[in-house]
Subunit: 223 residues, 2 copies
């Protein structure tokens, strides 16, 4: 059961194509709020900023708009969508429909080792909140949910949820920018307890509450 040492010391990490690199970089920047919602971006501006040709940039943007992370503004601009009350409600419904199901499945499959890893992430998350470190809070919070969802072994549902995070991530950053990391309650402890006892229903219940709290934060911050 010990980790096999791979006979591939080849430090050659698969060379990813430029459009993939551009996609990942922009996706992470959007996810963690480095683009202000509504702030326009141009294709040619990105080609200069990233130092690649326009074809990879175009493909990455096409992908991100297909995922709802970016939006064409009719005129000649692309931007992170600005959420209105309707969008927040829809995102909330979708998250409550999908993430508790993933938490349930994760609970069935979680090993003690998995729980330890998630507890560690949650501790770093709490530390970031105490420090008032918004950026780190956003990263660790995402890590917590992404690691949890991965346990569910449900790639299609997980992908759908990832898309939802791309949509509300930028606004979460805006809200934290206004109010700092104070008053950011979550139900991670309940989720972790449910995982530890492999109680799927309790995990799903806790996750409904966590999602509801998180989306309510965004709603109050933006409306």
């Amino acid at each position: 059961m010990a980790g096999q040492i791979s006979l591939k010391p080849m430090a050659e990490p698969v060379r990813l194509p430029a459009h993939e690199l551009v996609y990942r970089q922009l996706r992470d920047q959007i996810l963690f709020g480095e683009f202000e919602p509504g702030q326009p971006v141009t294709i040619q501006g990105l080609t200069e900023a990233l130092g690649v040709g326009m074809t990879p940039v175009r493909e990455a943007l096409r992908r991100l708009t297909a995922e709802g992370a970016l939006e064409f503004l009719g005129n000649r601009r692309i931007a992170v969508p600005v959420l209105d009350a309707q969008a927040i409600e829809e995102l909330s419904i979708a998250r409550k429909a999908l993430e508790p199901e993933l938490a349930r499945r994760a609970a069935y499959r979680a090993t003690p080792h998995d729980v330890v890893r998630l507890v560690e992430i949650d501790q770093r998350l709490d530390a970031a909140i105490r420090r008032g470190d918004v950026q780190r809070y956003l990263v660790e919070n995402h890590s917590f949910h992404a690691d949890l969802n991965a346990l569910a072994q449900a790639p299609i549902l997980t992908e759908m949820v990832d898309r939802l995070w791309l949509r509300f991530g930028p606004s979460l950053r805006v809200v934290c920018g206004q109010f700092g990391t104070r008053n950011l309650p979550d139900r991670h402890k309940d989720v972790l307890a449910a995982l530890g006892s492999n109680d799927g229903e309790a995990a799903a219940d806790a996750m409904v509450g966590d999602v509801a709290q998180g989306m309510e934060q965004i709603r109050q911050g933006l409306i």
Copy 2:
């Protein structure tokens, strides 16, 4: 002012770019099963078949893979994904989580005029089933659900559902190719009755049943 014709007859309000046209054409072909799942497609093959450069084709494919309608096969091929039991289950869960919610909202907003239109679609659907017209059945069935979802006025949820249809559409065609249009039960009549009386709960219940029946058809046909 010589030869200035400022009167634009608005006959051609928007000229869609090639990448958009390619995307729509491929999306519809996938949705209605014109590509066999697993059958490989190459970029250059499509550029020749469609008579456009490779840039628009690349962008359209990037979009479709981002939506899960196509999939990279590791080797050098792109294809419509082949669904396994796990994928069918996940798609079933996602549909049951989202489409009943859309049906509920549609019921609240449906006018008698809307119901008449949906009844007409459903009649054409039944006629296609009696005739054994698989292609027409697929189109009308999609129309029914798409029109219904549009009534809900929930663009984000609707977009998520559209993606799901792109994933199981090709396999629905395969199943119909095997068994024809016999034994294709649905609960559209129950849905329509609920819409007519603006009963959201009844509409949601009927839609859960409709989705369950539809996905069960696919499961039995493919496994």
